[in-house]
Amino acid sequence: MIELKGIEKTYLRGSEEVHALKGIDMKISKGEFISIVGPSGSGKTSLLHVLGCLDRPSKGSLLIDGVAVEKMREDELVRIRRKKIGFVFQQFYLMPGLTVFDNIALPLVFSRTAIDKEKIIGAIELLGLKGRIEHYPKQLSGGEMQRVAIARALVNGPEIILADEPTGNLDSENSENIFELLKSLHKNSLTVIMVTHNNDLAARADRTLLLKDGRFPG
């Protein structure tokens, strides 16, 4: 379902050219749970950005459901992000001025989809956030904020969840809960790609890929 062929990513840091990805070839099947590990600066986040259509590769081809996306126009990439991909970030990135409900509904607003109130409330309750619907992010714990962020990633019904260090800002108990949540999504046939520093959690994915210096060694 996702295929990367010779993906390279080069960018400039001042006048210095940085080769973040140096030829990535991989295939990810529908419904797979993949974890990507590697030291800092190995290109994990760059890879996730390319996978999430937030960034275009400098070279190579990215196929999602057989369609090459690397040369798509900006508005086409926006449509793919809206329809197929849900993002979860380490820093949660919730909008401080919006309630839990509005934060979760935000992607629907961007994709001009009618807001199904019952469905969102159902999802909120399922994620153990009952009673938090009208709360603001600052009133939530880290674990709760990440659950809200996951609910937001799911609201458009994506096929792929891209999680960038989703447990990086959480204690071990909350990390475990979030990981279990991602696992349960995967059981519901979502493709989950998680970048992490936590080797224990990474090892529990279907497949763990080690990224080093912008490539998968071996």
Binding site: T45, H49, G52, L54, D55, E74, D75, V78, R81, R82, G86, F87, F89, Q91, Y93, M95, P96, G97, L98, D102, A105, L106, P107, V109, F110, S111, R152, A153, N156, D164
Partner: protein, 385 residues
């Protein structure tokens, strides 16, 4: 709706900054709205005053028409006199209804150690020349009676029944002119013959006010008059009013320019405030792009914030201007040489709407650049922090 909520909550997150920016806009809108209202009130007041006046034209010694305008409405003292024998010629014209002499001068008031502006007129013609005047007491009916304008009366504690002495002649205050809101409030009014006697110019007049029987004959009458009597100048009330309008026009242009500059300065404030907000929210904007916001969505959110900020500022500005209209009016009355009677700064919804539309347009234009900047933010750069 969520976009709107987002815009409002974003503005509230930086409450002080938003408030200060809005205050800048409010001040400039208040200035603009007040100036527009005043200009409109001024023109309306002039027209009203013109309609009210019972005379159609003034006959004055040849000179500057602005001087005449100033005489009629401001009461300046022109050191030239007409001889009232001119009046006989005027009255003999068939289309003339009546002619009445007006004598304006400054007289020292020895007891109070001040100089008063004194207006001599035929008291019997008062209702024709100043039909809108209301008097507390009675209009002077004898040569030793006079009447005081409300302002001069209240400043100098002049009451009905008091005695005032000018050049050794005592006058009884028969009445006080009720507040007109114009310069009329600052004068002492006495029978013209009494003033002529004091000035030792038994047939002198600063001007002669003339009313024609039908306004249609006005042009013909003034043309004829200029031929019959040499050395005079005929100034119609319309000319007087247009002289005043011309005098006021440059002031209007200047004041409007100041208002517009104030608005432009506050627009720069909006731009600065929005740019800071965009800069501070780079990561948030990146996140929104990641979860499906297009560049246009981001553009709209930021532009909405700028629009709300200016609209809020604009509405507050109108409210300030309305609330402070009395103070503004008082200030302008002091500063301007001539202001027609009546309220100058009335609330006009059309002007309020025009001011709001103008400031909103300026606000939105100043929000364009920050919105464009925000829309250009790359989601990756933003999320990387």
């Amino acid at each position: 709706m969520v976009f709107l909520k987002l815009a409002i909550t974003n503005l509230r997150r930086h409450g002080t900054r938003s408030l200060l920016t809005a205050l800048g806009i409010a001040t400039s809108v208040a200035v603009l709205f007040s100036i527009l209202s005043f200009n409109k009130g001024f023109s309306k007041g002039l027209a009203r005053e013109l309609q009210r006046t019972g005379i159609h034209f003034m006959v004055v010694p040849s000179g500057c028409p602005h001087e005449v305008a100033s005489l009629v409405l401001h009461g300046s003292v022109i050191p030239k006199f007409l001889n009232t024998s001119v009046m006989e010629k005027i009255v003999s014209m068939k289309d003339v209804d009546f002619a009445t002499p007006i004598l304006v001068t400054q007289l020292p008031n020895a007891e109070k150690a001040r100089v008063d502006l004194v207006y001599g007129m035929e008291m019997s013609r008062l209702s024709a020349v100043k039909p809108y005047w209301e008097v507390d007491g009675k209009i002077p009916s004898a040569v030793n009676e006079l009447m005081a304008g409300s302002e001069i009366a209240s400043h100098n504690n002049i009451r009905k029944g008091d005695l005032l002495t000018y050049s050794g002649v005592s006058f009884k205050v028969s009445g006080i002119l009720k507040k007109t809101g114009s310069q009329d409030d600052a004068f002492i009014y006495m029978p013209v013959e009494a003033l002529q006697a004091i000035l030792k110019k038994p047939s002198g007049a600063t001007a002669i006010g003339v009313k024609v029987k039908t306004p249609e004959t006005l042009a013909k009458t003034t043309d004829e008059l200029a031929e019959i009597v040499p050395g005079i100048q005929v100034v119609t009330m319309n000319q007087v009013m247009s002289s005043i309008s011309n005098l006021a026009a440059s002031g209007k242009v200047l004041s409007l320019s100041i208002a517009i500059i104030t608005i432009l300065v506050s627009a720069v404030g909006v731009m600065n405030s929005m740019l800071m907000a965009v800069f501070e929210r780079t990561q948030e904007i990146g996140m929104m792009r990641a979860i499906g916001a297009s560049r246009a969505d981001i553009f709209r959110i930021i532009l909405k914030e700028a629009a709300i900020l200016t609209l809020f500022g604009g509405l507050s500005g109108i409210a300030f201007a309305v609330a402070g209209s009395d103070i503004i009016e008082k200030f302008v009355r002091k500063a301007m040489p001539y202001i027609p009677s009546g309220s100058m700064v009335d609330f006009d919804p059309v002007l309020a709407a025009a001011s709001l539309v103008f400031v909103s347009a300026v606000g939105i234009i100043s929000g364009l650049y920050p919105s464009w900047k925000a829309a250009k933010i790359s989601p990756i750069e933003a999320i990387k922090g």
